[in-house]
């Protein structure tokens, strides 16, 4: 295979293991989706291959649009592995927010970041890339952090769809809002800034997407508490 055997387990997430290794001598990150024994083998196989493919497709398309994602070096569908650049020095947006969370001027401090998140998202949606799992852990910041250079990761639930996707884009925003508020309480104002940034980049589509987002939001909010 393309790499030597010196894989080192870096992290185990919910559905994949991350290893560091090398690709023809170049240090890299290897994301391997492992088998989930709780689910039916047919379903497991189909989800794993679908997600590996979608992840790579979206990452490549993002890069073509100037949205940063780790460079994809190699894909091994047999072993469900993606070899990509390892950004050792980057931190997650989640950790970046934790650093200032609780400060009095937290919202002011984080607004430029929120704007940048909104811009990136607007650009993705404008080009019909739906991320599917937007959280603050799935966005990285490269050094120097003050430059707010955003790197998007974890495209396993993503897809590219050029037909009518306002609903999916609305859900994307909704998922992000929920992830933001549950992980970082009292950041409602930041989400408004994200939406502003989103509108700047996705001028044609924003109105329709935001209308859908409001609809999805109401569906959740109105959920009854009986039964």
């Amino acid at each position: 295979m393309a790499t030597s055997d010196n894989l080192k387990l870096l992290k185990q997430g919910a559905e994949a293991k991350l290893f560091t290794g090398d690709y023809f001598g170049r240090p890299c990150l290897i994301k391997e989706r492992f088998k989930k024994t709780y689910r039916h083998p047919i379903l497991d196989k189909s989800l794993t291959s679908q997600r590996t493919k979608n992840e790579v497709r979206s990452m490549v398309k993002c890069r073509m649009l100037g949205i940063e994602t780790p460079t994809v070096l190699f894909v091994d569908l047999e072993q469900s592995r993606i070899y990509m650049d390892y950004l050792a020095e980057a931190i997650t947006v989640r950790d970046y927010i934790y650093k200032v969370q609780g400060d009095k001027d937290m919202i002011v401090k984080l607004s430029p970041l929120a704007k940048s998140i909104g811009n990136t998202l607007g650009k993705m949606h404008l080009n019909n890339i739906i991320h599917g799992d937007l959280t603050t852990s799935n966005m990285l910041l490269k050094k120097p952090f003050e430059d707010l250079k955003l790197v998007m990761i974890d495209f396993g639930l993503s897809f590219i769809d050029n037909s009518q996707t306002e609903e999916d884009k609305g859900v994307d925003l909704y998922v992000l809002e929920r992830a933001l508020l549950s992980t970082h309480p009292n950041t409602e104002a930041l989400f408004d800034v994200i939406i502003q940034g989103y509108k700047e980049e996705n001028q044609q589509g924003a109105a329709e997407v935001i209308k859908k987002y409001e609809e999805v939001r109401m569906r959740g909010r109105k959920r009854t508490m009986v039964g």
Binding site: G13, A14, E15, K36, T37, Y38, R39, H40, I42, L43, S46, L47, G132, D133, L134, T135, S137, L157, V171, D172, Y174, V175, L176, R178, A179, S182, T183, P185, V216, R219, G220, R221, K222, R223, T224, M225, V226, G227
Partner: protein, 254 residues
């Protein structure tokens, strides 16, 4: 559901006045969680709350039970019940129970739409898909009703386990608690157990008596609230469907 709740609220207010006792309004979902914690001894679990009306993944953080994931359309129990109706399964003792029994005889797996969005799930597309095709698939002999029940269960439960696992990974949680009516399903419990074991976590599940709605769970949550000094203002002792799990200040946990 509204009418009986409203009537009981009147009785509760009457009793409170007669005996001059404080009254406490309890959030239904929190009743499930607190009863589950009491029965299983779970300390700080990620909670999967699944019933006919609700599908939520909940975790405790900063004084609230926060909803990390939920259905963006219909509840999982609703999806199962409606499919039971397509197959004309009996409502006795419950449609979900009959699907569970029939699914045990299923062998052939049909791939169904699998919709996970971040930590949220959606069942309405899957339901339409199987509702439209069920009659044809059965009459052509391709699939038996048992196969379809089996496939439906395997798919929707896999979705639920996946979002629960995501929430656990996200919160670094090592316990998982299963509550709500659908929580008595043995297959769901088994799948959750497998997932938990693989991550070195513990599964806490309860049986029929506590999974299904019961008065004791409301009392247990009310007791916890009362001990921590919470009572409800007179004018707030009404029933409402618009009462989110994450609206309640959890004063009894740190």
């Amino acid at each position: 559901m509204g009418a009986p709740l409203v009537s009981v609220a009147i009785v509760a207010r009457t009793v409170a006045q007669i005996w001059k006792k404080p009254i406490i309004g309890v959030n239904h979902c929190i009743g499930h969680i607190e009863m589950g914690r009491l029965i299983t001894g779970a300390d700080n679990p990620t909670v999967l709350y699944v019933s006919g009306g609700n599908t939520q993944v909940i975790s405790f953080a900063e004084k609230k039970y926060r909803i990390f994931g939920e259905t963006i359309d219909i509840a999982v129990g609703n999806c199962l019940d409606r499919f039971a109706r397509v197959l004309k399964l009996s409502n006795d003792p419950s449609p979900g129970f009959n699907i569970e029994q029939l699914a045990k005889e299923g062998e052939k797996y049909l791939e169904l739409p699998y919709v996970v969005k971040g930590m949220d799930v959606s069942f309405s597309g899957l339901l339409s898909f199987i509702e439209e095709r069920a009659d044809g698939l059965i009459s052509s002999g391709e699939y038996t009703p048992a196969d379809l029940c089996y496939s439906l269960q395997e798919t929707v439960y896999a979705m639920l386990i996946e979002i629960t696992e995501r929430a656990m990974a996200h919160c670094g949680s090592e316990e998982v608690l299963l509550v709500g009516g659908v929580g008595c399903n043995k297959r769901l419990q088994e799948m959750m157990g497998t997932m938990a074991k693989e991550r070195n976590a513990t599964l806490h599940a309860t049986d029929m008596r506590f999974c299904i709605d019961n008065g004791a769970m409301i009392a247990q949550a009310g007791w916890e609230m009362f001990k921590s000094g919470q009572t409800t203002k007179w004018e707030d002792t009404f029933c409402t469907q618009r009462f989110r799990t994450d609206e309640v200040e959890v004063t009894w946990r740190s």
